[in-house]
Structure formats: structure tokens, C-alpha cells
Symmetry: D2
Subunit: 116 residues, 4 copies
């Protein structure tokens, strides 16, 4: 796993251990915490247009940054608890997607998106 | 940003560009895709006990790994679109949490979790 | 509670009882099932524009209808398990919102939405 | 549709109209608001055991009631915008589930839940 992610993983492990919070961090519970943080991200964007969501004011951007951090933290914790390598998993999934959606075939039509 | 995450970011950028899918990747839309993937993770755990969620069979673990990958992918895409450094953001948030929940004060009681 | 919701509640209770599934229906688990269904709704809309989301083709509309049904079903189950009257709760919340956002004050500006 | 739900629907329509908020209530946006409220429900339960989630203290129960109300409100709004009858949709889905999971076949084994 990535050096940076590895470091964050160990630091989060320590963070939970010294607070005796590890007992609460089952994958089931962590998945709930993760989606709750994902929803706080969604909440920032729910009444914005797509264009507005690309052009946030500095204070909103800082809040969104903190939400992304929370999601990342719970993602790393969940992966750690299940002994999953996030970077390897992402690479595998991207390769899968590259084969599933060949560029020359989906380009322009982008059927996945416009089938509605 | 982390070398590994940086690489994934560039690869995902390319993936979207060659498919002309970048037009769909507003932060608003990406937050929806991210939470939809987070929900697929939740779905794996919803009827399991906490203990069961820590001890998944190999085929279920592989599915969960793919969900974590999807969440990670959309997280990286969202951060890229908003020019946010995920690793720096996580570090900042962990430091914030370390001060907000001093170990010597919350240990044992873990009030945040047991106030219910 | 509403006659119709009351009937659905009793029918869902029976549905779970005869399958011996009541054991899985803790409020914690039901909240996970509910958000997983809400995410399937989100997934239908994630790559659509707002305008497209208001004008669905018949087959997509039927799928969205089924997602709304699933959300409603888990909402009724959760309320039943916690002995909460959904209609009374909604009325109370609407009254609360009417006082929180006085029409003459928020109209036009709609600050809640445009503070971004 | 149910008399009670019909009444809530009309009241919510009026609530949005007098505030000129209808412009924000596309199904896409409403689905985001709905899942954000569902996540607030999840958040109440994320660190609780299943047993604790069935036995909430009065003040927590009141908060959970308000979350259920918010989910219900956005569910009714979304259905209204898409001209979907929630009660009819739920009945149809329950009938579908009754056939999909015959009691005599799934009872005891509850395979849907224990396949993990």
C-alpha cells in the first residue's frame, strides 16, 4: 500500500487504540460512519446546480475538504479492518472498468450515462 | 499528494477524458456516485452482526474490496475536480480530532459513542 | 396513524413474522436497509441533469417507483419498531419548518439554498 | 393515495410554493436531500449495538422521530414531483416480495440474510 496511506492507516490505528475506541470499529459500524460522512458531502451539493458545485466559495470549499477527509479516514479504517489494500483494489477496479467500457466503443455515445 | 494517489488520479482523469465522460463529472454528480457506492458497502453488512462483518467469506470479501475500490475512485475524482489534496486533508482532520478528543479524557468513557 | 399506513404496517409485520425475519429488523439494521434503498434512488439520477430527472421514460419511472416503495417500506418498518407515528411526526416537523422559515422572510432570497 | 399522505402532499406543495422553493425541488435534488436525511438516521445508530438501537432514551427517540419525519417529507415530495402514488407502489412491491420470498421456503433458513 501507498506510503502515505500506510502512514495514515497506522496513525488512525493508534488514534483508536489509545482511546479504546477500537471496540466500536467493526466493518459494519464503519460502513455506517462512512456513508454518514458521504451524506454530509452530498448535503453541500444538494441545492446547487452542477455548475455551482464546481465553483465553491473558499469557506464552502474548506468544509467540503473536511468532508472528503472524513470519508477518506473511514475508508482507510474499513480497509484496515478487513486487511484490504486500497491502492491495489483501485488499480484492479480501474483495469476492470477499462475493459468493461472500451473507449472507442463508448466515446461520444456514453451509453452508460445517457441510457435514460 | 501521495505518489500512489497521484498516479490513480491521473489514470482516472485519462479514463474519463478518452471516453468523453468528464462532462458528467461535476462535484455534485460525483458526490451522488460516491454515496451510491458507499451504500453498496452498507448493503453487504446490513443483515450481518458486527462479529460477522469482521469475518467475511472470501467471495464476500472480494465483493467488499471492489466496493471500497469504487468509493476510493470516486473520492479521488471528486478531490481532483475540486483541487483538494486528500492526504493533506486527512492529516489536518486527524490533528483536529486528536485535539477534540484528548485520549486521557475520552478513554474508557468514550462518551462520543456511549452517550446514547 | 393513517389508515393506509396502518394497513401497510400490519402487513409488513406479518410479512416479517411468517418468514421469521423479525430477528434481523433492529432499528440499526433497518436504517442501513433504508439508506441502501435511498442510494438506489440516487443512482437513477446521478448522471442526469435536473431537467432530465423530472422527465423520465416510462421504464425508468417504473424503476424509480419501485425504489420509492422500498424506501417507504423500510421507513414504515423502522417507525413501527420504534413505535413512532409517521404522519404525526411529519405534521410536527412541517409546523416546525413553517416557523423556522417564515415565507415572507425567505421568499425570493431563499437563503437556505443560495447561501453558497 | 392515503387521505393523510394526500394532505401532507398538498401541505408540502404549498410550503414550497409560498417560499418559491419549488425551483430547487427537482427529483435529482430531492433524492440527495432524502439520502442526507436517511444518513442522519444512520448516524444515530452507527455506534450502537442492535439491542441498544431498539431501546432508545426519550431524547434520542425524539431526535430519531424527527429524522424519520424528514425522510418521509422528502419521500412524499419526490413522489409528488414524479406523480407516483406511494401507497399503491408499496402495495405492489409487497406483493412482489411475497411471491419472491415464499414463507414456507425461506422460513428458518432465511437465506437472503444468512448467505454471508
Amino acid at each position: 500500500m501507498s506510503g502515505d496511506i500506510e502512514q495514515l492507516k497506522l496513525r488512525l490505528r493508534e488514534f483508536a487504540a489509545v482511546r479504546d475506541w477500537d471496540q466500536f470499529h467493526s466493518p459494519k459500524n464503519l460502513s455506517m460512519a462512512l456513508i454518514a460522512e458521504a451524506a454530509e458531502l452530498v448535503e453541500h451539493f444538494q441545492w446547487l446546480t452542477e455548475a455551482q458545485s464546481t465553483d465553491l466559495k473558499p469557506d464552502k470549499l474548506a468544509e467540503v475538504e473536511a468532508e472528503l477527509a472524513d470519508i477518506f479516514i473511514y475508508l482507510i479504517r474499513t480497509a484496515d479492518k478487513l486487511d484490504i489494500d486500497l491502492v491495489a483494489a483501485a488499480k484492479k477496479k480501474i483495469e476492470h472498468n477499462e475493459q468493461k467500457y472500451p473507449a472507442e466503443q463508448v466515446r461520444g455515445s456514453a451509453k452508460k450515462y445517457t441510457e435514460y
